[in-house]
Every structure is written in C-alpha cells, then in structure tokens.
C-alpha cells in the first residue's frame, strides 16, 4: 500500500484485513517525514518512540481479534498548541520553547482511547495568530504544492503534513479560519465544528469565544471520522455541549441531499475574487447542480463588518488569555538577575523576550479596546455587531440548508507578500471569520482544479449542530468528481 493512496477508511480496512500493521505504516510515515520534511518543515517535533508504542497497541488489539474503531492505528499530526502529555507544546512561541505538556488535551485522551497514533507536533503561527504560518517563532512551513508559497495558517503545519503525505490526518484549531484557510491553500479538507461541539481543554486558548479544534484530512469522509472521534461534551470545558452526532455523519443519504437548498451569499461572490477562485466556485456549483441540489441567492448583509468585529473581539480575548504567560510557573525565563528587578519588571522581561511581533501587536490592540474610555466605542460595539452577524446566518438558514462560499479570496500567496502589512494579511480570512463569530460549523473542501494549478477550496457552512448536512454535500461532491484520496 502506497501512502499516497491511503485514506483513514482504506487504512482501517487494510489494518483489520491484516494487509499491513499499524507499525509498518507508522514507519513508512516516519521514512517519508525524514525525506520530505527537510524541505516542507511541517513538523516541530516528531515523536517516534511514543508513536511506535501507540501503533503496537493497535496491532495487539487487531491480533487479539478485538473490535477496533476507525481511528485505531491511524497516524496523525497534531498542531503544537494542543497538549500531548510529555511532548513539547510550544504553540509556535519562543515563550514555550522548552515547555513539555503536563497533561493530555481532551481530544488527545479521546484519540488515545481510540488507539490512534501521534506522529508528532506541527508548526503554526505563534499562538495560532496568523494566516501563513510565517509568524511561527521557529521556522517557515512551505506549501507542498509550491515551495515558494505559504501553506496558509495558522494550522499550516498540519495542512502541509496531510498534503505532503506525512500524516494520514491531523488536528488544527480554528479561531477565524485557521483550519479552513490552510486546508484550502494545501488542497486538503478542513472542518471547523460548531462552537461547543469539541472540548478545548488542553488547547492553548487564543480567543475563547471563537476557538474550536477541528480535523484536517484527505477526504470529507475522513474528516467526518476524525470529527466523530473528538466531538462530545467534556466536564473540563464548560462551553462544550452534549450534541447528538449519529451515523448520518458517515452514511449520508443522496435522497436527502436532493431535497436540500444551498445558499449563495452575494457578499461573498465579489469582484475582488481571484479569477481562478471564481472559476473553481462555478465548477462546484455546476457539479452540485448535476446531483440535483438547488441553489438560491441569499444575502448576509453584515458580512462587511465581520473583519472589524473580529479584530476587536479576538485581540481583546488574546490580551486576557496570553496574560498567563509570565515565565513564573513555566516557559521562558529571562537571563536577567532576578534580585535586581521587581516582579513587574521580570514579567516584562520574560514576556517581551518570549513573544513575537504579532502576539505583541494583538496584546496591545486588545488592551486598548478593553481600556476604559475606549471600551464602549470598540469592544461593546463589536459585541453588538457580532449579534447582527449571527442574526444574518439565523435569517439565511430559514430559507437554505447549507451556504456555499469561497474559503479565501485567493489561492496560496508567496512568502513575504503580506508580512509587512497586517491588514492585508487579515483580509485573507475575510470569508472564514463570520463563521466563528456566529459559532456555526463550516468545512473547506478542495474544488476540482486543473493538474498543476494551485489548490482552491470551497466552503460549506451549516446550521448549528448540523455538520451532517455539509459533510453529506461534501461527500457527494467528492464522489461526483471521482476523488478517492
């Protein structure tokens, strides 16, 4: 079995059919990483010893004839802001360069009990703040489709690992598009679940009212398998909800899809779209129409305010969440003499040496919008605009089941193209941000593009708790275009 042909589903069939062992495939991935990751730089840490122990557990279970689930033995890459006990968890930041996770995130505990294998930890923009992975404190990850271009971000390492056949699937986190935009740039599937569907216990918090953990995978079905494996209520994350996710996630009905209406919001099909993106969207609409899906033009009138709203609320929460990194209990400690500085001065030294430019910029911006005198004009205003953005989706979903949009206005851009201008970088997330503000689920799926062209993703947005609808449409799209891996 060649790694390029594998999906989670095919892996599972091969594993239980004893065509190969989890240890053999794990070894094949490490061989691939040793060769390919020299140029891609997707991984910050590889965890060979742990991974082979985990693979062995899956192999023993299969040998004993135990019934194992879809994820048993599946080699995964994990974004480095998600904790795996005993492994580094840098969050892409120098301030956590030497930090080792003290416990497992809930998603990791769930995957461990499903006997999944963790190949290593992947690169990201520092604390998941960025759209190109260029803000990593450690290295630049390259797009496997074009080494001169970014993989997107912030889950750029996870997307590049899956796209480069260096993992069968991956986890990322998505606060404003950080799973979907790199999935689009790298030509893989990326799912942002409904806010509350997946526990965030053990993920480094960035903006708590927006963060969700989500899977990256080669197919929509694989993303559905991973999502089902990590979803569920958790007593350690009070925002998590006991939602019912049944078999329909994996076994969608074509008859049901034929009765669906997909909305096309006019605010997302704008003249500024890259022609290649516009063309890809046309192809997707044509394919879905041929399956019997109906389309309807809709409006999400407050879309144009989403970027401002997000860049007030998110930094406000960042400034609060990143206050915990002070170098006292763990993390970077400045070399200055402790006795010669006050506690406040030590905090400043540890933090200023540890955080990179984007983290500092957002902490300052967040501190500003929360400060007395400006709170009402910025933060309180943005919270009200957020209500309007959410209402847009509620209104639209009275008429349609799923909404289709581009993921990003352009395909992957070149290194350095947007690093000097934060606003230009922020604009690459303009189509993914409203989803996080509203808390609805969305998925990025590669559209069919000509061989040799850069990947382009389309986004399906679902109603709260209705991941099943967009996963169903996505699975049928892949069948229709004949994509098998």
């Amino acid at each position: 079995m060649h790694l390029h042909d594998l999906t989670i589903k095919k892996f599972h069939e091969g594993l239980v059919g004893k065509q190969f062992s989890a240890a053999e495939i794990t070894k094949a991935y490490f061989d691939r990483i040793a060769e390919k990751d020299l140029e891609i730089n997707a991984y910050l840490t590889v965890a060979k010893d742990n991974a082979f122990l985990e693979a062995e557990k899956a192999d023993i279970a299969v040998a004993k004839g135990e019934e194992v689930g879809w994820l048993a033995g599946v080699p995964l890459a994990i974004k480095d802001n998600i904790l795996i006990e005993g492994l580094p968890a840098t969050s892409g930041s120098k301030i956590l360069e030497n930090y080792k996770a003290a416990y497992d995130a809930t998603v990791i505990a769930k995957l461990k009990s499903a006997k999944a294998v963790f190949l290593g930890k992947t690169n990201l923009d520092e604390f998941a703040m960025g759209s190109s992975t260029e803000n990593s404190g450690f290295k630049k990850t390259k797009n496997p489709h074009d080494l001169e271009r970014v993989p997107g971000g912030s889950s750029g390492g996870s997307a590049a690992a899956v796209a480069g056949h260096m993992a069968l699937g991956a986890l990322g986190s998505d606060t404003g598009g950080s799973v979907r935009q790199p999935a689009s740039f790298c030509g893989v599937v990326g799912l942002k679940p409904t806010y509350g569907a997946v526990s965030r216990f053990g993920v480094a918090a960035m903006a708590s009212s927006l963060d969700q953990i989500g899977p990256l995978a080669r197919t929509v079905e694989d993303a559905a398998i991973l999502f089902k494996g990590i979803a569920g209520q958790d007593r350690f994350d009070a925002t998590s909800v006991a939602a019912e996710y049944g078999e329909e996630l994996l076994s969608p009905s074509l008859e049901k899809i034929k009765t669906m209406t997909i909305g096309l919001p006019e605010e997302y099909f704008i003249s500024g779209l890259d022609p290649a993106v516009a063309k890809a969207m046309d192809e997707v609409i044509t394919t879905l129409t041929s399956l019997g899906v109906k389309f309807k033009k809709i409006s999400l009138p407050n879309t144009k305010h989403a970027l401002s709203c997000y860049y007030i609320i998110m930094p406000a929460e960042v400034s609060s969440n990143l206050a915990r990194f002070d170098g006292i209990r763990y993390g970077h400690v400045s070399a200055v003499n402790r006795r010669e500085h006050t506690l406040a001065a030590l905090y400043k030294k540890n933090r200023s040496e540890g955080f990179g430019a984007e983290a500092k910029r957002r902490i300052i911006l967040g501190t500003f919008v929360l400060s007395s005198g400006y709170y009402d004009a910025y933060y309180a205003k943005a919270q009200k605009v957020r209500t309007l953005i959410k209402q847009d989706f509620t209104n639209a979903f009275r008429d349609v089941d799923v909404i289709l949009t581009p993921v990003s206005p352009t395909p992957a851009f070149k290194f350095g193209e947007k690093t000097d201008d934060p606003l230009a970088m922020y604009l690459s997330d303009i189509f993914t941000i409203p989803v996080n503000l509203a808390g609805v689920p969305a998925i990025s799926i590669p559209a069919k593009v000509e061989t040799g062209k850069l990947p382009i993703g389309f986004q399906l947005i679902g109603k709260h708790w209705r991941e099943a609808d967009m996963l169903a449409v996505g699975q049928y799209y892949e069948k229709a275009i004949g994509r098998t891996v």
């Binding site: 003290a102 401002s308 860049y311 206050a323 209990r329 300052i364 400060s371 919270q383 009200k384 606003l423």
Partner: protein, 99 residues
C-alpha cells in the same frame, strides 16, 4: 474613535507587561493607526437596541460537583513541578513579591 500616540502606547504596553523597543514602537504606532482607522467603518452600523453577544454560546450557569474538577492526568503534580523554572525537590522558588 481615537489614534494611539506614543505616550498612550507606552501606557498600554505597561498595562500588558510588555517592553517595546523604539523600532517596535514605531512599527506598532503605524500598524495600530491603520487598524483603528479601518474600524471606523463600524460607525455606520446601527446597533441601537441590539443586545451584545458576549460569548460563543448562549449556555448559562454550567455547574459541576466540587471535587470532580481535576483532570485525571492533572492529579499527580509531578509534571507541573517539572515545568517550574526553579525548584528544590518539591519546593518551588519564585521571585520576591514585595519590594
């Protein structure tokens, strides 16, 4: 809506326990004024009588039993002590709090 001047930036950095060097100050003043300028478009949105959305969920008052709050892998403090910058066996050393 307002611009951030140098004095204000230094105050914000102090509140956030950050030190900015002159180069960072110059860059941030430029970046922040661009970003705040962009935010002005929010003035055109009528938010009279719109309630604020102050979280990602509408859930309220999630309770749990006392004593049931610690993750299984957290019950053993070994890893947490391990991460501490300065320690002597199980004793943790922190900088002086009082000046």
């Amino acid at each position: 809506m307002a611009e951030i001047n140098k004095k204000e930036l230094e105050h914000l950095a102090d509140l956030a326990r950050l030190e900015l060097n002159p180069k960072e100050e110059e860059k941030f003043l430029k970046d922040l004024s661009g970003i705040l300028n962009y935010f002005q478009e929010l003035n055109e949105v009528n938010t009279d009588n719109v309630p604020p959305m102050n979280g990602g969920t509408e859930s309220k008052n999630i309770f749990r039993e006392d004593g049931d709050s610690v993750s299984p892998s957290f019950r053993d403090p070994k890893n947490i002590i391990e991460a501490f910058p300065e320690k002597h066996s199980r004793h943790l050393k922190v900088p002086s709090v009082f000046e």
